[in-house]
């Protein structure tokens, strides 16, 4: 277990920065990275975080490295990024991050009607709140901005290192 900042330096070209290739039949019609998509979709799902000066997208790197999160759960997150972009392509001929604010919300409304889509939004929101409201040592809840928003004081003692 190490602090978030030193751990972050370790990160090599892992899932987040590798390309997600979207296919339709045999055609490669779009390339994006999970990091780009997650950053945008997290802001679409919970813009309050950015308002509070919190970047929740970095926290996903912890989720992908965590030994207590199952491979199935990690795969679901990854697949969701792919399916979200595929939906965007199908509906608007563009990857998710290239759509307008209104179109992106439309895509979210549409996937929320599907089983995978509502589950994926649920999962993504839970990770957003983990980032916003977990101990500041995990890197998201800087200056306790998330806690202050909800007048929450946190518990003492606070952790000295992150649990990974």
């Amino acid at each position: 277990m190490q602090s978030f900042s030193s751990r972050r330096n370790f990160l090599k070209a892992g899932f987040l920065s590798s390309a997600v290739i979207l296919t339709s039949g045999c055609d490669i019609f779009g390339v994006t990275t999970s990091r780009d998509t997650i950053k945008v979709v997290q802001n679409d799902l919970f813009p309050k975080a950015k308002e509070l000066g919190i970047d929740t997208s970095e926290y996903i790197t912890i989720i992908y490295r965590h030994h207590k999160i199952s491979k199935e759960d990690k795969d679901f997150l990854k697949n969701g990024v792919k399916w979200l972009n595929e939906t965007a392509q199908e509906e608007h001929k563009k990857i998710y991050t290239k759509l307008s604010d209104t179109k992106r919300q439309e895509v979210l409304e549409n996937i929320a009607q599907t089983e995978w889509g509502s589950a994926w939004i649920d999962t993504m929101l839970r990770y957003i709140f983990e980032a916003m409201l977990g101990d500041p040592i995990y890197g998201g809840n800087q200056n306790r901005a998330g806690w202050n928003w909800l007048a929450f004081k946190g518990g003492e003692p606070r952790p000295k290192r992150i649990y990974l």
Partner: protein
């Protein structure tokens, strides 16, 4: 060779370690998990509650769960695939580190359930082979040695005590308890200050509670919580070996001879001792006996009766809640409501038994407490709108902000008897192995219909209190879903070796030197959390073993 080898360092094993090592005997405790002390614990919600840092990953160690229906059919769940965990805290001191410490004694009639309330069709109800009076001195001992704080109020079901009151004064409580007491007075219920295994002041070489706001599920950083490590193991010379998963006990000529354990790297070790104590928590204790079959005991160690693993019980009941909203409160009341840190600590036992006009039913206990302070969990409760649709964006942010900053939830937990039945038991599945290569435990779950009826009756009374207090959004759920941290049975004690695994001193009928001292011995569970009874019984058995060993010196 050790005098005593104890498998498991929780509330069932530690009193033996404490008493016997303090009496000068050579004691070793084998614990699967790590050692954490006060300085290692923090209030890290992500680590403790979201990532379950004190329990093993299910893909390494799991259970198979068969959930029975009344028809006798069942659905099989693979613990790893379904995420259904029955682990409670693999660490020195066991899950007592993580308990809330709601401490209630069982009542005299709980020891005579069959005689007091009669047979229940489809349930294996029996009387205990000891009485409340035999256990009472040890309940009292736990109050003093482990530390229980509280205040006795007279009520219809107050059990007899050898001392007038608790040795440690009540913990401080939130002002909302006054609203509760007033509501109970109107309803003619008797509010009881919930006794807690939490020191309200520094004593016993431990610090008093500092009201961190994070008690249940979290390790205690002050030592105030009466967990088995802080209260007992840290105060005795018993040797504790961590990273020691005991996978087999050997026996020869009616005596256990060796305990075999693996480290996490799969290295096998052997411990020899004169007396062996099994206290790995109910499910795992039965699993170990069933996995320790040999030519003398082809169906599992200590299992000539075929009763090992049978009559597994949990605490039946469920939980509910009501919300207090600012709109209905004065400024002063709002301030009282949001006061952090202090406990709620109120219980009701007015319906420990009750009549429906035809017969007397065994009822139970209701504990009231504020919703856990875990902020991420509280926010996650708000993700769906009233139609069950997922929300996001500003609408969600506004809802969260309103719910968390202008209201607070009071919850209640119902504890009633989980009646023992034939289909609720532990077995092992030879072909399914854990990461050590050891057959996993199979948990067969079955609840008796009466469990739900009684739970429902209790919950309806709890709802009346919340209504009288002015709460809104009142809801509850009584279910047959078992609380994994409130588990007992599997190695019943009793006088008849054909129908029980252990004798009245919790020694295996079949073996001269094997005792089981976690909650496995309990034939019925009472309608309270088990920990106080586990501690008390283990102190009682320690007394027996001490005399036994002293006789041989």
């Amino acid at each position: 060779m050790y005098d005593i080898c104890i498998v498991g360092s929780g509330a069932g094993g530690s009193p033996i370690a404490y008493e016997l090592s303090n009496a000068g005997f050579n004691v070793v405790v084998l614990e699967k998990g790590e050692n954490f002390t006060e300085k290692d614990f923090s209030k890290d919600e992500l680590g403790v509650s979201r990532r379950d840092m004190f329990t093993p990953p299910l893909w390494e160690q799991k259970h198979i769960i068969n959930e029975y229906r009344q028809s006798g059919e069942f659905t099989r769940y693979d613990g790893a695939e379904s995420g259904w965990s029955f682990w409670n805290g693999s660490m020195v001191g066991g899950s007592s580190n993580l308990m809330s410490g709601y401490f209630h004694r069982m009542k005299p009639k709980d020891f005579e359930l069959l005689s007091s309330y009669g047979e229940v069709k489809g349930a294996n109800v029996v009387d205990w082979c000891i009485t409340y009076d035999e256990l009472e001195p040890y309940y009292e001992k736990v109050e003093k040695v482990v530390g229980v704080s509280g205040n006795i109020v007279e009520h219809d079901y107050q059990e007899p005590r050898s001392t007038p009151n608790f040795p440690y004064p009540m913990l401080e409580t939130n002002g909302v308890t006054k609203w509760f007491d007033r509501a109970c007075e109107e309803l003619d219920f008797t509010p009881i200050p919930t006794p807690r295994a939490v020191l309200s002041e520094s004593a016993l070489g431990r610090n008093g509670c500092y009201y961190s706001n994070f008690c249940g599920s979290y390790g205690c950083s002050s030592g105030a919580k009466g967990n088995a490590r802080a209260a007992l193991l840290q105060k005795c010379s018993a040797k504790v070996v961590t990273d020691a998963f005991v996978y087999r006990l050997d026996s020869k000529d009616g005596r256990v001879t060796k305990a075999h354990y693996y480290t996490k790297h799969g290295i096998s070790h052997v411990v020899n001792a004169k007396i062996f104590i099994l206290a790995a928590q109910a499910i795992e204790s039965s699993r170990l006996l069933l996995n320790s079959k040999n030519s003398e005991f082809p169906h599992g160690l200590a299992n000539s009766s075929g009763e090992v693993g049978k009559n597994l019980i949990f605490s039946a009941g469920g939980s509910g809640s009501g919300r207090f909203i600012f709109e209905k409160l004065s400024k002063e009341q709002q301030k009282v409501l949001m006061q952090p840190g202090l406990f709620f600590n109120r219980s009701l036992q007015d319906w420990y038994d009750y009549s429906d006009g035809c017969r007397i039913y065994k009822g139970g206990t209701i504990d009231f407490l504020f919703e856990h302070q875990n902020i991420i969990s509280r926010v996650n409760r708000e993700l769906y709108d009233e139609n069950g649709n997922i929300m996001w964006g500003d609408k969600l942010a506004k809802k969260i902000e309103k719910q968390l900053t202008t209201s607070r939830v009071l919850t209640f937990e119902v504890f009633n008897d989980w009646l023992p039945t034939d289909n609720c038991n532990v077995s092992v599945e030879e072909e399914t192995k854990d990461k050590y290569g050891v057959p996993v435990g199979v948990i067969n779950l079955n609840s008796h219909p009466q469990d739900l009826e009684v739970g429902e009756h209790l919950a309806q009374n709890a709802v009346e209190v919340l209504e009288a207090m002015g709460a809104v959004e009142i809801e509850y759920s009584i279910s047959s879903s078992p609380p994994p941290n409130l588990v007992a049975g599997g190695c019943r004690f009793g006088d008849n070796p054909k129908t029980s695994v252990l004798d009245k001193n919790c020694k295996a009928h079949d073996l001269e030197n094997l005792y089981v001292t976690d909650a496995s011995f309990m034939p019925t569970g009472g309608s309270v959390p088990y920990t106080w009874t586990i501690y008390a019984n283990s102190f009682r058995v320690a007394e027996v073993i001490k005399k036994e060993l002293q006789r041989h010196i």
